[in-house]
Symmetry: C2
């Protein structure tokens, strides 16, 4: 099958999460992502658990569809090879601390002289400008500083970190968007550019309505718990075997929910007739609903509410997510064969495209698995030349 980013060559210097997530998205859509790793150790996340046969499941799920070449970028000869590769590439992506590439003599200003068409994407904690630029950040730090923790957590409780590293993941997504937009510009003009994405900036960009609420009310929003602040009922309710999220987003859906419950009188009740009234009397309504929802299992309520068209869902743990019929029907859990680790399940490709569906074509590379292949293919080197370089310990 054709791929949307076929023919786009990406030199990928990224490690751990934000950068590798960005290049994974591109690789999933067909870009030729060449992961350049330090000899012997490679991407730090190769050492992150959990492991299967000593291979990191974390690394394997983020680096599918990529090829690996090792290069010791501190060695002058390796730098030369990298520069030769830049001449043949479309995109360079890195997520070092700002200044690192410049110290290596491989900053954007240098690479641009070598290839003015190059798109250079840098993902970092705080970005390539501003007073904190040179500081290191981790996901936990930008989640703390960017405000998302302050509005996540139990109502009345403490700020809470979002489970997945959303600070890294959103930076990866915005980086991919920046690269693709720059590609569009280059297609029209022939000119490359630098794309600079900061994890902290991305946290601010995803705050949704929290900024608007603060600007208008002058009060900083707090952790909101699981209840919607202005729609009722819109929260999880206890069932006989767990919980169910019920989101009756308007009056018509509330009537339908009451019909399912056999409590049609609620829809006529002066306290519950309209959404604003229900929100006002939420403390009275929730116990009434819970009394009903406790009488059946989550699955039973789910079937009944689905039939009536009332938005609802179980609060799935990961095992349940991985066997959900919709998730499976959409190929969102796939299985990849790895030469060392065997079969490995991981998340599929969430962008479904009618002409160029992205797929997982290859497992994550072993460290330096494609060094020889890439040097031959990209730089036209011979086996002899490569063997000679091997003795210089540059890869």
């Amino acid at each position: 099958m054709k791929q949307a980013l076929e023919g786009i060559k990406v030199l990928d210097l990224t490690r751990v999460l934000a950068g590798p997530y960005a290049t994974m998205v591109m690789a999933d859509m067909g870009a030729d992502v060449i992961k350049i790793e330090a000899p012997e150790v490679g991407d730090d996340s190769r050492q992150f658990g959990p492991y299967i046969q000593n291979e990191s499941a974390y690394f394997m799920s983020l680096n599918r569809n990529k090829r690996s070449i090792t290069l010791n970028l501190k060695a002058p000869k390796a730098k030369e090879l990298f520069i030769e590769m830049v001449k043949k590439a479309d995109v360079v992506v890195e997520n070092y601390r700002p200044g690192t590439m410049e110290k290596l003599g491989l900053g954007y200003e240098e690479l641009k002289k070598i290839n003015p068409r190059i798109i250079y994407a840098a993902s970092s904690g705080f970005g390539h400008s501003g007073p904190y630029s040179k500081r290191a950040a981790y996901d936990a730090v930008v989640q703390a500083m960017g405000g998302i923790m302050s509005i996540t957590g139990p109502k009345g409780g403490k700020p809470t970190r979002v489970g997945p590293s959303i600070g890294d993941v959103t930076a990866g997504l915005f980086t991919a968007i920046g690269v693709l937009a720059a590609l569009n510009y280059r297609n029209n003009t022939g000119v490359g550019q630098k794309v600079d994405v900061a994890m902290l900036d991305c946290q601010v960009a995803i705050l949704e309505n929290a900024i608007a609420r603060y600007v208008v009310t002058g009060e900083a929003p707090k952790p909101a718990g699981n209840r919607h602040s202005s729609i009722t009922p819109f929260e999880p309710f206890e069932t006989s075997d767990g919980e169910i999220m019920i989101a009756a987003g308007n009056d018509a859906l509330f009537v339908k929910m009451c019909e399912v419950f056999g409590t049609e009188e609620w829809a006529q009740d002066e306290r519950f007739k309209t959404n604003p009234l229900r929100t006002k009397h939420v403390e009275e309504l929730v116990p009434l609903i819970t009394e009903v929802t406790r009488t059946k299992t989550t699955k039973e309520w789910q079937d009944l509410l689905d039939k009536a068209g009332v938005p609802n869902g179980p609060i799935n743990t990961i095992d349940k997510v991985m066997e959900d019929p919709q998730v499976l029907a959409r190929d969102m859990i796939i299985e990849v064969d790895h030469p060392v680790a065997g079969h490995l399940k991981m998340a599929g490709v969430p962008i479904k495209m009618s002409e160029t569906q992205g797929i997982v074509r290859t497992h994550a590379p072993l460290l330096g698995q494609h060094t020889e292949e890439i040097l031959k293919e990209l730089l036209g080197m011979s086996t002899e030349e490569i063997d000679a370089l091997k003795k210089e310990n540059i890869f």
Copy 2:
């Protein structure tokens, strides 16, 4: 300044959040986004609080840089106009429930016949295939079903919804990525396509290492609280006036932290020498650290830890985020003039591009503000023709 997506014409049928977020990202980078709204009511989120002078701050922050035309797509004449517009457009984006566009006779299969170059992006709760396809979803439902709630929350506590509507926002980001990748393919081949993005799929795609952990251990991960499961110290600590996130990600950073604290002996302590040891003895280490951190303010610790290069940050509430020097230096809080609401602060553009920096050029449109302008410009209609149509109540 030139813009990366200049010249790309987007017909935007989206409402509320996931779709409008995707088209905002494109509009911020220069795409000409024409928001098509139902006459009189418009985008549902025009009715969402908080308000300034009766204008929704929520709507205004998501719809900057777009133009608005009203069209009653149920009227045959309006459909004709829409079809004429599709002939001139590059992209159509909608986030209706699957099947709605087909019912209107405006599904992808129809539009493709009219313009085979069109890129048709659909963002929905569950996607355009699979057993749940036709069901409605809200952010709370996909956060519940997709697993993110099950791994967010206080340690030992209940699953917790992420504060911002991350289900919508990530779907918006993946939709933008899909459209841009499809544009690249079209630039090479002249062929358009359908891009189908489900909120639920995107939740699975951002679970990060949770799937790997479950696959390897057979145990579904639980809410993890604010502490890192395998790095110590890596969590918020009490200060004299709040909390500070300290992320000493390796042994060298731990030594630096101890130097700042004046507790160099910890680095020699048999319980705390290495990260695995610190993680094993976390219950002993955390009270010791807290005893120290309680002695100064968050700001004081921040300055000291920054100077030593130890990653750290305050847990900012939204008011603090909006006055953070780095956030301001990166133009991540901007002010937009609105003709009714006056000055409004909102999040800036997180993708920093050296050649084509995205900017907020215009405030969110009033309902139908550009109807006449767009009909003239795009379809070459005269004032007389437009006046005649006005009488038919199609916009």
